[in-house]
C-alpha cells in the first residue's frame, strides 16, 4: 500500500502533481486509519476496569497495636504494615545510610515514623520474606528475613545482607485519617 511510488508512469512529472497529491493523501489516510485501528487492540491488553478497581485498597489501622505487624493484599501482592515500637524506630534511624547497599534514610521511607508500609516481596527473586507473623524469624536486624536465599532486611525493610539488590518497595499510599491509609 505504501508502494504507490513504484507505479509505472511515475516518471511523468507533467500533470502528475494532482495525481501525486491524491495518492499522497490516500496513503496518509490509510496510514492514519491503520494506526487508529491498531490502538484499541493494544489498549485491550492494558488492565481492564475491574482490575483497576482493585488497584487501591483502604486499610483501617486502628486495630493494629504498637509492635504488631499486619499483612494485607494489594494488587495481588502482600503489603507489610508495621506499627513500629520506639526501639524499632530508633534502630532504623540510627543507621549510617552510606553503609547500605540501597542507601535510603528511614525518614524517606515513612510518612509517620511509627507506621512502616512496604510491599512484602523480596527484591531478589520475589519470595515473601518472613517476619510479619508472630513467631516468624525476623533475622539479625529484627526486620524481615527471606528464607529463599537468605536476604536480610532491617526495621526500615532495607536490605542488609544476602543477595537482594534493593530495599523492600514502598507503595504509594496516603493517610486518609489518623488511623486509616489508602494504598495505590
Amino acid at each position: 500500500m505504501t508502494d504507490l511510488a513504484q507505479s509505472p508512469g511515475d516518471s511523468e512529472h507533467g500533470g502528475g502533481t494532482r495525481r501525486d497529491f491524491l495518492l499522497l493523501s490516500a496513503g496518509a489516510l490509510g496510514a492514519v486509519g491503520a494506526a487508529a485501528a491498531i490502538w484499541p487492540f493494544v489498549d485491550s491488553l492494558n488492565p481492564a476496569r475491574d482490575t483497576l478497581a482493585l488497584s487501591t485498597t483502604e486499610v483501617d489501622l486502628a486495630p493494629v497495636q504498637v509492635g504488631q505487624r499486619l499483612t494485607i493484599a494489594w494488587r495481588g501482592k502482600p503489603v507489610f504494615i508495621d506499627h513500629r515500637p520506639p526501639e524499632e524506630i530508633k534502630a532504623a534511624q540510627d543507621v549510617d545510610v552510606s553503609t547500605l547497599r540501597d542507601p535510603q534514610k528511614d525518614s524517606d521511607r515513612v510518612k509517620k515514623p511509627e507506621w512502616l508500609v512496604v510491599v512484602g516481596v523480596c527484591t531478589h527473586l520475589g519470595c515473601i520474606p518472613l517476619g510479619n507473623k508472630p513467631g516468624d524469624d525476623r533475622g539479625p536486624y529484627q526486620g524481615w528475613f527471606c528464607p529463599c536465599h537468605g536476604s536480610v532486611y532491617d526495621t526500615s525493610a532495607r536490605i542488609r545482607q544476602g543477595p537482594a539488590p534493593l530495599n523492600l518497595a514502598v507503595p504509594p499510599y496516603e493517610f486518609t485519617s489518623d488511623t486509616a491509609i489508602k494504598i495505590g
Partner: protein
C-alpha cells in the same frame, strides 16, 4: 554477481527482483526470494483489464479473514471457555476490558460480513463460469474454505454460552444421530457427555481457534491455484496477449483499496450503530439446559441449510425424513463440488448465455427464499415454500445446469478481451 539459477517452478517464479531495492534486499532475496515473489504475484501480475467490481470480493474476503483472526486472538486473551464462566467472561469483555465491546462487536459482525462477502464471491464464480476449465481445483478449494467457515462459525457461536449457543449446538450435533447404526455414539463422542455441556464447550473453543489457521492454509492453496492461470474475467474468455492485461499494481491495488473503504463503511455502520441487528436476542440469556427457546434459529448465513433440513417432512424410499433432511442439507453444499462437471456449456460467462443467465440470477433469490423459510416457524405456507425452494435448488444444479448448457445457443464471443474493451470505448 552470477545470475541465479532458473527456477524449476512451473508457475515460472522469477529468479531475481525486477527492480533495484539495494544490497540488503538483494542479499535476502537471493536466499529467500520474497521480494521477487511479491513483484511477480502482486505488483507486476498480469490481470485482465476488464474486471468489474464483482472481482473485489476475493480480496475483501482475505482481509475479513485477517480481521476475524486478529479480533479472535485478542478476545481469546479475555474469554474463559468453561460453562459456568463463559457467559460472564464475555460480559466482562463488553464492560470492563478496554475497547472490549468494540473488539467483540467487530468479531461478531465480522463473521456475518465474512459470509456475505464469500456468498457474493461464490455467486460471481457461478455467474461468470470461473469454476470451468482450468479452474476446477480453484473452485473446489473455495468450497472447502466455505465448509471450514461454516464449521468455524458454528462452533464460535456456541462459545458465548447463551441460550441460542446451547440450543443450536444441541440441535445441530443431534443431527448426527440420523446416521444409521452409529449415529448416537457419534453424537456422544462429539458431546463428550450425555448432553452438550462443558466438555463440548472446551473442545469447540480449541477447534474454533484452530480452524481459522487451516482456512489460511487453504486460502494459500486457493491463491496458488488462482495464479496458475490467472483470474477469469466478465467475458469469460482467455487472455491472449499483453493488450488483454494490466499489472495488478497499481490498478487493482487501488481498486481493492477503494472497495475496502466501501466495505469498511458498511461494516462500521453495522458495528457502531446496529451491532445486535443480525443476532438473536435470546443469546443474551445465559444457557439453560432446562428451558428451550421458543424459536431456535441459527445465524442468518446458515438459514438456507436449516430450511432445506426442515423441508423434508416425509420418509422417502424407506429413508427416514430426518436422515433425508440431513443428507439434502449437507448435500446442498457438497453439490457445489460437482459444478465444474455439471455445467456442459462450452462458454464460461453467463453474459453470453442468453437462457442460462436468467436462471443464474434466479438462484440468489431462491436462496433468499430459503433463508426466509429458515427464519420462520415451520408451519403452513412456509413449509411449502421451503419445499419448492429446495426442489428448485437441486433442479437448478442437477437438471438445468447440464441441460441448458447443451440446449442453448451461446452468443458469439468477442475476439479478445482487448478488442472488447476497445469496442466499449467507442
Amino acid at each position: 554477481m552470477a545470475a541465479p539459477p532458473p527456477s524449476a517452478h512451473s508457475s515460472a517464479q522469477p529468479g531475481a527482483p525486477a527492480r533495484d531495492y539495494g544490497r540488503l534486499i538483494r542479499w535476502i532475496d537471493y536466499r529467500l526470494p520474497f521480494v521477487a515473489s511479491l513483484e511477480h504475484h502482486v505488483i507486476d501480475y498480469p490481470t485482465p483489464v476488464n474486471l468489474n467490481y464483482w472481482w473485489n470480493f476475493g480480496s475483501l474476503a482475505g482481509i475479513t479473514l485477517v480481521i476475524m483472526i486478529v479480533t479472535g486472538i485478542v478476545l481469546a486473551m479475555h474469554y474463559t471457555p468453561e460453562s459456568s464462566l463463559a457467559f460472564d467472561s464475555v460480559e466482562r469483555i463488553m464492560r470492563d476490558v478496554n475497547y472490549g465491546w468494540l473488539i467483540r462487536y467487530i468479531h461478531m459482525n465480522g463473521g456475518s460480513m465474512f459470509f456475505l462477502i464469500v456468498y457474493i464471491h461464490l455467486f460471481r464464480g457461478l455467474y461468470y463460469g470461473s469454476y470451468k476449465y482450468p479452474r476446477e481445483l480453484l473452485w473446489i478449494l473455495g468450497v472447502v474454505i466455505l465448509l471450514l467457515m461454516i464449521a468455524t462459525a458454528f462452533m464460535g457461536y456456541v462459545l458465548p454460552w447463551g441460550q441460542m449457543s446451547y440450543w443450536a449446538a444441541t440441535v445441530i450435533t443431534n443431527l448426527f444421530s440420523a446416521i444409521p447404526i452409529f449415529g448416537q455414539d457419534i453424537v456422544t463422542l462429539l458431546w463428550g457427555g450425555f448432553t452438550v455441556g462443558n466438555p463440548t464447550l472446551n473442545r469447540f473453543f480449541s477447534l474454533h481457534y484452530l480452524l481459522p489457521f487451516v482456512i489460511v492454509a487453504v486460502v494459500g492453496l486457493h491463491l496458488l491455484a488462482l495464479h496458475q492461470h490467472g483470474s477469469n474475467n466478465p467475458l469469460g474468455i482467455d487472455k491472449r496477449g499483453p493488450q488483454d492485461t494490466i499489472p495488478f499494481h497499481p490498478y487493482y491495488t487501488i481498486k481493492d483499496m477503494f472497495g475496502l473503504c466501501v466495505f469498511l463503511l458498511a461494516f462500521a455502520i453495522l458495528v457502531f450503530y446496529l451491532p445486535n441487528m443480525l443476532s438473536s436476542a435470546d443469546n443474551y440469556i445465559p444457557a439453560n439446559p432446562m428451558v428451550t427457546p421458543n424459536h431456535i434459529v441459527p445465524e442468518w448465513y446458515l438459514l438456507p441449510y436449516y430450511a432445506i433440513l426442515r423441508s423434508i417432512t416425509f420418509d422417502f424410499l424407506g429413508i427416514p425424513s430426518k436422515l433425508l433432511g440431513v443428507v439434502l442439507s449437507m448435500g446442498s453444499i457438497m453439490l457445489l463440488f460437482l459444478v465444474p462437471w455439471l455445467d456442459t456449456s462450452p462458454v464460461r460467462s453467463a453474459r453470453f448465455r442468453p437462457i442460462w443467465r436468467w436462471f443464474a440470477m434466479l438462484l440468489p433469490f431462491d436462496l433468499i427464499a430459503l433463508g426466509y423459510v429458515g427464519s420462520q416457524p415451520p408451519a403452513g405456507f412456509v413449509v411449502t415454500l421451503g419445499q419448492i425452494a429446495t426442489a428448485y435448488y437441486y433442479i437448478h444444479f442437477l437438471i438445468l445446469l447440464p441441460l441448458i448448457g447443451k440446449l442453448e445457443t451461446p452468443r458469439p464471443l468477442p475476439i479478445s478481451i482487448g478488442a472488447a474493451v476497445l469496442a466499449e470505448r467507442r
